[in-house]
């Protein structure tokens, strides 16, 4: 008698538990929070619209970008992530099995196994380069990367000794291959990997405020360019490495100076990506349609970047303000 009561009570509580869980799961998605501010803003725009207009509840988790993130999405731990930059996702070429289309044009085609779904471009077009402050460029007459070696002493720090220093790509998982590029181009600089965007930018900011010369890897759109006057060193134009591509999978084979990474970066049509099973479900069809239409402007992101990174405001607050003030810009992304 007592046992059966206990069992039925247990059963009942389980029923309630699972009922509440399934109910809560109905319109839920799980997204990654990126590790650079631009990516966070783009994702926050998507999340804001999904939550406001389409009745979603989105759970967000901080996750470092890189191969680990792709695997987490492929495994279904996360449903989607935002603003992947194709140049930085080389080791993940195997994942998509679709064409990347921007403005009706195919800008890149992927022939992977389709374990990750390409949700569409974000609208942000990124560009990466090495930069020096204008005062340094004028003082030393540096026009291109070829002039860097002559002034490497000026760019040296106590840590690099006789070599110049590049404040390099902060995160190894981003696959910038800074040192490789410097070596291939014969620039006698040492790439310093500082671990986080914040560390790299703080270093550059401090150097700028002290009017010291420095060489910085950075991507645009970025708030740094709004605050400080920087000039690109004009790396050689992007060339693919024919035949043997330069990836981890083929043990970093390289075409020497004929192609990547002896060149600068390609123009990056950034994209959102997600778990194929999640977005194949009929209840998420509208969300998928939204991602196909989303097209955030570089300028809009740059404005929000300034609010967040310079004025130190909360990301959600800034994005909500933008959504409130610019409905004409994003209403057209909504699925019919």
């Amino acid at each position: 008698m007592r046992l059966s009561k206990t069992i039925s009570a247990l059963f009942l509580s389980f029923v309630i538990l699972f009922a509440s869980l399934t109910q809560a799961n109905a319109k839920r998605l799980h997204a990654a929070i990126a590790d650079w501010t631009g990516g966070i803003i783009t994702c926050e725009v998507a999340v804001g619209i999904l939550e406001r207009e389409m009745g979603y509840k989105i759970k967000q988790t901080v996750f470092p970008s890189g191969t680990g993130l792709w695997e987490a999405i492929a495994a279904g731990e996360l449903d989607f992530a935002c603003e992947s930059w194709p140049s930085y996702a080389e080791a993940d070429d195997v994942m998509f099995n679709e064409d990347l289309i921007y403005d009706g044009k195919v800008v890149k085609s992927y022939k992977g196994d389709g374990t990750v779904d390409l949700l569409g471009t974000t609208g942000i077009i990124g560009m990466s380069d090495y930069w020096i402050p204008r005062y340094a460029a004028e003082k030393f007459g540096i026009k291109t990367w070829r002039d860097l070696n002559k002034h490497k002493k000026e760019f040296a720090t106590i840590e690099t000794g006789g070599k110049g220093r590049l404040i390099g790509c902060p995160v190894a998982g981003w696959n910038c291959h800074d040192q490789k590029r410097l070596d291939l181009l014969g620039i006698d600089f040492q790439a310093d990997e500082l671990g986080t965007e914040a560390a790299a930018v703080a270093e550059a900011k401090a150097a700028y405020m002290r009017k010291e010369p420095f060489l910085l890897y950075l991507w645009s759109p970025h708030w740094f360019f709004g605050e400080f006057d920087m000039v690109g060193v004009g790396l050689p134009d992007y060339k693919t490495c024919a035949g043997d591509t330069f990836t981890e999978a083929n043990n970093w084979k390289t075409c020497g100076t004929d192609g990547w990474p002896a060149t600068g970066w390609d123009k990056d049509y950034t994209m959102n990506y997600g778990n194929p099973d999640t977005f194949a479900k009929p209840e998420h069809a509208k969300a998928k349609a939204f991602f196909e239409r989303m097209k955030l402007d570089n300028l809009d992101q740059a404005k929000m970047l300034v609010e967040v990174d310079i004025k130190k405001r909360d990301v959600k607050e800034v994005v909500n303000e933008w959504l409130d003030n610019n409905p004409d810009k994003w209403k057209s992304w909504l699925p019919n």
Binding site: A24, E77, E159, G173, W174, L194, E197, A199, K312
Partner: protein, 705 residues
């Protein structure tokens, strides 16, 4: 005669010392010569590293496990995840007053008015800084981990106490669990249990379970033989003995264990943001990413206050109630010793009245409820009715608490929605902290100082040591370490040391591990230079010691990557910043144990020394320090272990070495690479730990302590 003997012994000791010193010097000179000979960083020959593809084996093994057994881990993970989401949803969706009551009332009941008010402050701080949700997520993660730790840990502890063989089997496992940096299994957990709550909880269990197993075991084993004998003579069976006598008697010890588990779980739950667990850790990490010192500080303080609250709460269970004579008026909030001040009495008077009133209401409310229950049940069974009535009356705090909580949730769902923490009560300390730090960052004098320090640490300490350690051939370093192991511990340990170092070399991470070693050595040296004087001052001045203890407590409870930002702001990203952050994190033990060691030297020794005319400095130098050496070495030992642990997060601000390898392994989802580097850190830590412990033991024996 006897003086002659001792002088001969003294001579032989000093000549032995000379031999030892010259041997050490010689070893060093040979190493220096060798390091100048070598062209580049020393590495094991390619033949070995190419054959010993540990990284590839791990990755293959992981793939195999993933393919064939992942479904099991997935089921476990999904169960834990569902429970976690359930708790999290409950905490986040409930009205904030309900949560506040759920935290405040137990604190009030268990720890009195002081803890109750403190818990209200903590709750207010969470809400006011906008950390309400992350704080509750952290609480949920920690609560579940602690619950599972207690269930599993107490069971294992009881098993250990019942069987010596099982205890011997568990001991090395527990040792490993405590030394292994959590990052090493945090990432594999990610691959098997997915991201978020489930792997975080499991990793936390591994990290924080040892103390409760140990304390349960010792608690049960310490139950006095007489008690056991009398129980047996009354004819209790083995099981009865265990459950009715041994476990209840060892409850204080078990509660101590739970207290430690809570503190450790809290530390790890914060770290688990690296594998996607939500909570304050994630906030702090985002703050680091955006260089927002104020934000990180708020997060850190949330954790700190939470930790103190849970610590006091769980401590109040293991402490026995101290009873004052009833005619002495008891203070509720302020220390009893302040009774002589009028203001204190004025503050306490209304509190006394209030508490009397609450007691009166609670007791009468409970009595009337008990009476109703008793009456209803007595219709069927008189005896049970009396039992139940008594049981209710005894808990005269708990029943009203329940009623209050029910009332809140009733009001919320049927009358007015209370919702989440009111926005108007927001109070942010972000801005002032950030602007203070910003103004320091541009202060030319301060920057000149930081630059000078950076230059000194890098050029004078780190770079020479880096070059020296990486350039000395690996076989020479290995030989030196084994020799030290042989002289301090014994031949077995020497062989083990050699094997462990061979493993590191064969994994192809020798240069990185030497860089890690040099970072740790430089950090520890700096800790020593800064920490020992502070410890000496503290040993002479009690007020200084008290202030310092509070600061050190706070430093040890703050999540350790909180330190990264201010250091980063002042010193820029790079190796030196990594070292300074390590120093801040790992300095507390050395300060504490220096002051402890010096204060423990009994007064008689210094008295004697002073009566012989020794100056303060002489007493310190000749008497106190030699006697405090064992304590100092323990401090040194703990500092070294903590410095090794810190190596895992310093890559976030430009640290190099094995920590960076671990990070790169994660970023490229190369578990083998990360694991090899993680194991490398563990092995180095173990070797140095054992050597210094053995050395302490010898020192103690030599001093006859």
């Amino acid at each position: 005669m006897s003086s002659e003997v001792s002088s001969i012994q003294g001579k032989s000791i000093s000549s032995k010392n000379i031999i030892t010193y010259s041997l050490v010097l010689l070893t060093f000179l040979v190493a220096l010569w060798l390091s100048f000979q070598s062209e580049g960083p020393s590495k094991m020959p390619k033949v070995v590293t190419d054959q010993f593809t540990f990284t590839a084996w791990v990755n293959e093994g992981e793939d195999y496990l993933k393919k064939n057994y992942r479904w099991i881990t997935k089921i476990i993970a999904s169960y834990i995840k569902n429970i976690y989401y359930f708790v999290e949803d409950f905490l986040l969706d409930s009205p904030w007053l309900l949560i506040a009551a759920l935290i405040f009332l137990p604190c009030l009941i268990a720890g009195g008015l002081r803890l109750g008010l403190y818990s209200l402050f903590v709750i207010y701080f969470w809400g006011a800084t906008g950390m309400w949700e992350p704080s509750l997520q952290t609480v949920a993660l920690m609560g579940l981990s602690v619950l599972m730790c207690v269930v599993v840990g107490v069971t294992l502890g009881v098993m250990c106490s019942q069987s010596d063989r099982f205890e011997n089997f568990m001991k090395p496992i527990l040792d490993t669990m405590q030394v292994m940096p959590a990052f090493v299994y945090l990432f594999p957990a990610l691959f098997f249990f997915g991201i978020g709550g489930a792997p975080a909880i499991l990793a936390t269990m591994i990290y924080s379970m040892p103390p409760i197993i140990r304390l349960t075991n010792t608690g049960i084993r310490q139950v006095s033989a007489e008690t056991i004998e009398s129980a047996t003579s009354f004819g209790s069976s083995k099981l009865q003995l265990l459950f009715k006598i041994k476990i209840p008697l060892s409850l204080p010890s078990i509660m101590m264990g739970i207290n430690q588990v809570i503190m450790m779980a809290l530390a790890l739950v914060v770290l688990a943001c690296f594998i996607g667990a939500e909570g304050i850790g994630g906030q702090v990490w985002q703050a680091i990413r955006r260089l927002d010192v104020g934000w990180a500080m708020e997060g850190g303080l949330c954790i700190l206050f939470m930790a103190i609250m849970f610590d006091r709460f769980s401590m109040s269970f293991s402490k026995t109630e101290q009873s004052l004579p009833s005619n002495v008026q008891k203070f509720y909030l302020l220390p009893q010793s302040w009774e002589k001040y009028l203001i204190a009495r004025l503050i306490e008077k209304p509190l006394e009245f209030l508490s009397g009133l609450t007691n009166f209401v609670c007791i009468n409310l409970t009595r009337s409820i008990a009476y109703v229950f008793e009456f209803c049940i007595s219709l069927s069974n008189k005896n049970t009715a009396r039992d139940i009535g008594e049981a209710i009356t005894r808990r005269y705090y708990i029943i009203p608490s329940f009623i209050l909580i029910l009332a809140i949730s009733f009001i919320d769902s049927y009358m007015i929605s209370i919702g989440s923490f009111p926005e108007e009560w927001r109070l942010s300390i972000r801005q002032p902290i950030s602007s203070a730090v910003d103004s320091l960052t541009v202060n030319p004098g301060f920057i000149a100082f930081t630059k000078a320090l950076r230059g000194f640490v890098y050029l004078k300490l780190l770079r020479p040591l880096d070059i020296f350690l990486t350039h000395v051939p690996w076989w020479y370093t290995l030989g030196v370490f084994s020799a030290i192991g042989y002289f301090t511990v014994g031949i077995r340990f020497a062989i083990i040391t050699a094997l462990l170092l061979l493993f590191i070399g064969a994994c192809g991470i020798w240069p990185q591990s030497m860089i890690t070693l040099s970072s740790v050595l430089v950090s520890v040296a700096l800790c020593f230079i800064i920490g020992v004087p502070l410890g000496i001052i503290a040993s002479y001045n009690e007020r200084f010691r008290n202030v310092q203890n509070v600061v050190l407590d706070a430093m040890q409870t703050l999540p350790y990557f909180c330190y990264l930002i201010p250091v980063l702001m002042f010193f820029g990203g790079g190796v030196v910043s990594a070292i300074l952050a390590t120093v801040i994190y790992s300095i507390p033990p050395i300060i504490r144990l220096t002051s402890l060691g010096l204060t423990q030297v009994s007064g008689t020794y210094s008295e004697v020394s002073r009566s012989f005319g020794g100056t303060l400095l002489q007493t310190l130098n000749k008497i106190k320090f030699p006697l405090a050496v064992p304590s100092l070495v323990i401090g040194f030992n703990q500092t070294v272990i903590m410095a090794f642990a810190m190596q895992i997060v310093t890559p976030l601000i430009g640290g190099k070495g094995l920590g960076l390898e671990v990070f790169n392994g994660l970023a490229r989802s190369d578990t083998g690479r990360g694991l090899a580097a993680g194991i490398g850190i563990v092995l180095l830590a173990i070797i140095i730990d054992r050597i210094s412990l053995a050395w302490t033991k010898k020192q103690r024996e030599a001093l006859g302590l």
